[in-house]
């Protein structure tokens, strides 16, 4: 058995670095993700900033050794807080050479990336496989990857007859050695992972771990030190580690909402999976409806009955909920709608990230249907924004659409454990008498706000309707009633706006270029901006959480910069393309809104690559724009 001391004695030439990106890639079912998650958790507990994101194959059981089948995980660890998956990986452990191809296509690696490659294929019984392997290794090397061919399987065979099941823990051992992770911590994690499976299994995996550790010491001259974040940054803080969908589930529980009504859809469903597992512990229930319309209707029924409910979906589901959303707006029902955005339009890219649903969230419903639209920028915000959403929904008697995306949904990160309190929670349902003289929509003529009677309140009886209605909720077709109702439903958002503070600029308040973003791109944009600033560029960034109502002071802020552009993960015409002129260009979604809102000529850079934007890509685009600016004068 290896303990930390011996490990340090053995430790080879050591490289110090402020951050590193590791990938483990394999066929699906080989446990790469479990190994990576454990490595991430150990690193987090040792004080590193960490971001992990899973690499998910498009098919359920893709053929072995196929690029399309690449399954695995990326772990980015650093001496500072990490907010995104970063650029190219520094080290990748690969269970076979084929799966690396799809990662290469995605630009996951660079010259100098260390590839720790299972070498059993070199001598495989099947000739094609031997050829594929040789060809690939040569090709990788030609492209500047540093390939270490390693007899991982052979080494595992010394411990288990079935390495396919154990290899991942062996690799975990290797990585823990390379990054000199705390061995006891790692083993503890392994023990909890396999708790249910019993001691024999735990012991076996511990042995594989040790073997991997020793293997790295002996066969690999690699050792990296990624120092922990300064202790004072962590002082007395407690952390939890989750992905964004689990964070949504936690937010639901923290908000005191008792019902999530959903219909399965990727990439949103795992939030409900998590809730289905634990929701009963807080007395909640997940309803799987027959379709998205019913899911929304069921949630609306519960909200009407006084138990504000939540529905969680993705693009195609949002499309089906359009009519129900309009009803909730018209009848002023509280409702929380979480939309985990994926690639569109239509079925599009079900497992991949896009920020393409912003305009649909704002304008999807025929007629004027204002509602709160907010977007979480971090995994932690996924949790806290659900809590905020429930409160806004009830205070402003409105549906709230909370936008997240596949990047937040699948990214895993440690963040501060929330300190929930009773005032986060929905209060017990009010069944006291309702003064019959107070109409069900007793609008405050200035703010449009009104209290809401719920079933069970004696004297509170009213008939909710999606038709135009008076403050008594009586159907009314006359001009005044319709205009007044519309005024009141819109005014609420001016009232909410008046409570918001202007957003804070990241970087200087003036300069050449301001980059505006929303949602999951926060980390990547700010990192790109920081890098550009480090190179002396006068660029800052601004990130919006509230889209409806819009946060105040934007025009003032924008005026501080020579140029303003948005960076988004959605479609816009590239100004350089054929037939695209200033006049015909279709802008990115936030850009369009900000142009109308500020009348400033806001540019945009947006792409629909289906993967998160890397800080490096963004930086390059910023620099291009900045250079163009210099050109202008």
């Amino acid at each position: 058995m290896v303990d930390a001391t011996t490990a340090e004695e053995l430790a080879p030439r050591l490289t110090l670095t402020r951050e590193h990106i590791v990938e483990i890639v394999s066929d699906s079912g080989e446990g790469a993700q479990k190994a990576g998650q454990t490595f991430g958790t150990v690193s987090a507990r040792m004080g590193n900033g960490v971001w992990t994101v899973e690499i998910i194959p498009a098919e359920i059981q893709p053929p072995a050794r196929s690029p399309a089948g690449a399954s695995g995980i990326r772990i980015r660890l650093a001496s500072h807080a990490v907010t995104n998956m970063g650029d190219e990986a520094d080290i990748v452990v690969a269970f076979n050479e084929q799966v690396l191809y799809s990662r290469i296509v995605n630009g996951a690696y660079k010259e100098g990336t260390q590839v720790l490659l299972e070498d059993k294929w070199r001598d495989d019984s099947v000739p094609e496989i031997r050829e594929q392997y040789a060809k690939a290794v040569a090709e990788f090397r030609r492209n500047g990857l540093i390939v270490h061919e390693l007899p991982i399987e052979t080494a595992c065979l010394e411990i288990t007859p079935n390495p396919r099941r154990g290899k991942n823990m062996f690799v975990l051992g290797m990585l823990c050695c390379i990054y000199s992770r705390d061995v006891e911590l790692a083993k503890g994690e392994i023990a909890t992972t396999f708790k249910r499976k019993g001691d024999k299994v735990i012991d076996m995996n511990h042995r594989l771990f040790d073997a991997g550790y020793r293997f790295a010491v002996e066969k690999l001259g690699l050792s990296y030190q990624v120092p922990a974040q300064p202790a004072e940054d962590r002082e007395g803080k407690r952390y939890i580690v989750t992905n964004g969908n689990t964070a949504l589930g936690l937010g639901v529980m923290a908000s005191g909402m008792e019902l999530v009504s959903m219909y399965p859809i990727t990439p949103a469903t795992s939030a409900s999976h998590y809730l289905a597992d634990v929701y009963h512990e807080v007395g909640g229930f997940v309803h799987q409806a027959e379709d998205e319309i019913a899911a929304a209707g069921f949630a609306i029924g519960s909200s009407f009955a006084g138990k504000t409910a939540c529905t969680i979906t993705s693009g195609p589901g949002l499309a089906l909920k359009t009519e129900m959303l309009a009803l909730a707006v018209m009848a002023e029902l509280p409702l929380v709608v979480c939309v985990v955005q994926r690639g569109g339009p239509s079925t599009g890219l079900p497992t991949k990230v896009e920020q393409g649903d912003l305009l649909a969230a704002l304008f999807g419903e025929p007629g004027d249907a204002p509602k709160v639209v907010i977007a979480a920028a971090t995994i932690e915000e996924c949790l806290h924004f659900v809590v905020m959403s429930r409160r806004l929904a009830e205070a402003f008697r409105t549906p709230v659409i909370l936008l997240t995306d596949a990047n937040l949904a699948t990214g895993v990160q440690p963040y501060q454990r929330p300190e929930p309190s009773l005032d986060w929670m929905a209060p017990p349902i009010d069944q006291s008498d309702w003064d019959e003289h107070i109409p069900p929509y007793n609008w405050d003529s200035e703010s449009g706000l009104s209290p809401r009677p719920v079933p069970g309140m004696p004297g509170g009886q009213y008939i909710l309707t999606g038709l135009a209605h008076t403050n008594h909720s009586k159907v009314a077709y006359d001009s005044d009633s319709n205009q007044h109702g519309a005024n009141m439903r819109s005014r609420k958002f001016a009232a909410l706006a008046s409570t918001l503070k202007p957003p804070v600029v990241h970087g200087d308040d003036s300069g050449d270029l301001l980059v505006v973003g929303w949602g999951s791109t926060l980390g990547a944009i700010e990192e790109a901006v920081d890098r550009a600033r480090a190179d002396g560029h006068q660029v800052s960034s601004l990130h919006l959480r509230f889209i409806l109502p819009m946060e105040p002071g934007l025009k003032e802020i924008f005026k501080g910069f020579r140029k303003v552009m948005t960076v988004e993960i959605n479609y816009s015409d590239d100004p350089g393309s054929p037939l695209i002129t200033d006049e015909t260009r279709r802008y990115a979604q936030l850009a369009l809104l900000l142009r109308a809102h500020t009348l400033i000529d806001i540019d945009c850079w947006s792409v629909v690559y289906g993967h998160p934007l890397q800080p490096g890509m963004i930086k390059n685009e910023l620099v291009k724009r900045l250079e163009a600016l210099q050109g202008e004068g």
């Binding site: 069921f298 009407f304 929930p420």
Partner: protein, 317 residues
């Protein structure tokens, strides 16, 4: 539902609710519309059961029949076309103590609402489901409905409806966990009243298809039935709908039918030459979804907070 809700039985005797307590706005259906009769019957049931108005919710979709909530003194939800049932189920999910009625039409329920109709029967939540079947789209002025007779002239089929009419009873009886299936005609008030009362008292979804007169757009449909009582077959049984002489006298064709016999019910329902009246099927013991969906309603915020912290502890590093 007497006795069931022990928690308010005390109050029950404190105040007596009159018909007036169940009256809402003045009913604006056409003169001679069958909907008036249904409204009255429902109000009588509420009154006779002394159902507290503020604990009742009437949910509907869109259509003439779906205006019913506006004419009741209870809470009401006049929602979207075809979507009454998901809303009604959602109301019941975390407020099982609420009394829920659903008013829907043949288009609302059997056309655009089909998916919810089938699945609500599976959920079998405790509610009274009234389908006003006038074999036409009334509110939108005479388009074909799934139950419009073949050859019946409508604005969308001016040369006559081209499909055989849909049989909602046979479909309903085919749904697993269905628990109460009855059929009545609006122009027989006593049977209508007794049937709605039985549906109301039944714990589960009381599905009542009400053959309804629309003198304006589908007069011939109901006239033909009114004039030929032998088009009907009155089902009788001691576990069925109680029918007094006045009722049975009107229907020459009567038969004993055990409402627990599903296969027989299907056969009776399938015979469109003789429309069964009364209780086709009843299973008092079918599981009700709200008994599952309401798990934990009793928890206080404090307890929820406690539970949430326990959940957090497990993922704290």
């Amino acid at each position: 539902m007497f006795g069931l809700k022990a928690d308010w039985s005390l109050e029950l005797f404190e105040r007596y609710f009159t018909m007036g307590d169940y009256a809402g706005g003045e009913a604006r259906w056409c003169p001679g519309c069958g909907d008036h009769a249904v409204l009255t019957a429902a109000q009588k049931v509420l009154r006779d059961e002394q159902q507290r108005p503020e604990m009742s919710v009437c949910v509907s979709g869109i259509g003439c029949s779906s205006r019913m909530p506006h004419y009741l003194g209870t809470f009401g939800f006049h929602g979207l076309h075809g979507r009454a049932l998901p809303v009604a189920c959602g109301i019941k999910a975390r407020r099982p103590e609420l009394d829920v009625w659903v008013a829907t039409g043949d288009g609302d329920c059997f056309s655009i609402g089909t998916a919810h109709w089938i699945h609500a029967l599976r959920y079998n939540m405790d509610m009274t489901l009234m389908v006003f079947d006038n074999a036409i789209y009334g509110l939108t002025k005479a388009q074909t409905s799934p139950t419009s007779p073949h050859g019946f002239k409508t604005n969308t089929h001016p040369f006559g409806a081209i499909l055989e009419p849909h049989n909602p009873l046979t479909v309903t009886l085919g749904v697993t966990n269905v628990s109460f299936v009855a059929q009545v005609a609006d122009w027989n008030p006593p049977l209508l009243y007794e049937t709605l009362k039985a549906a109301y008292r039944h714990k589960g979804t009381g599905f009542v298809r009400i053959i309804q007169r629309c003198p304006v757009y589908a007069d011939s449909f109901s006239k033909e039935l009114q004039q030929n009582p032998d088009r009907f077959l009155l089902l009788q049984h001691q576990r069925g709908i109680p029918v007094d002489k006045s009722v049975s006298r009107q229907f020459p064709n009567r038969m004993e039918h055990d409402p627990s016999d599903l296969a027989r019910a299907f056969q009776l329902a399938a015979d469109t030459a003789r429309l069964p009246l009364g209780l086709l099927y009843h299973n008092p013991d079918a599981q009700c979804y709200e008994d599952l969906s309401s798990q934990g309603v009793e928890m206080t915020p404090e307890k929820r907070l406690e539970g949430f912290n326990a959940v957090l502890d497990r993922i704290t590093i």
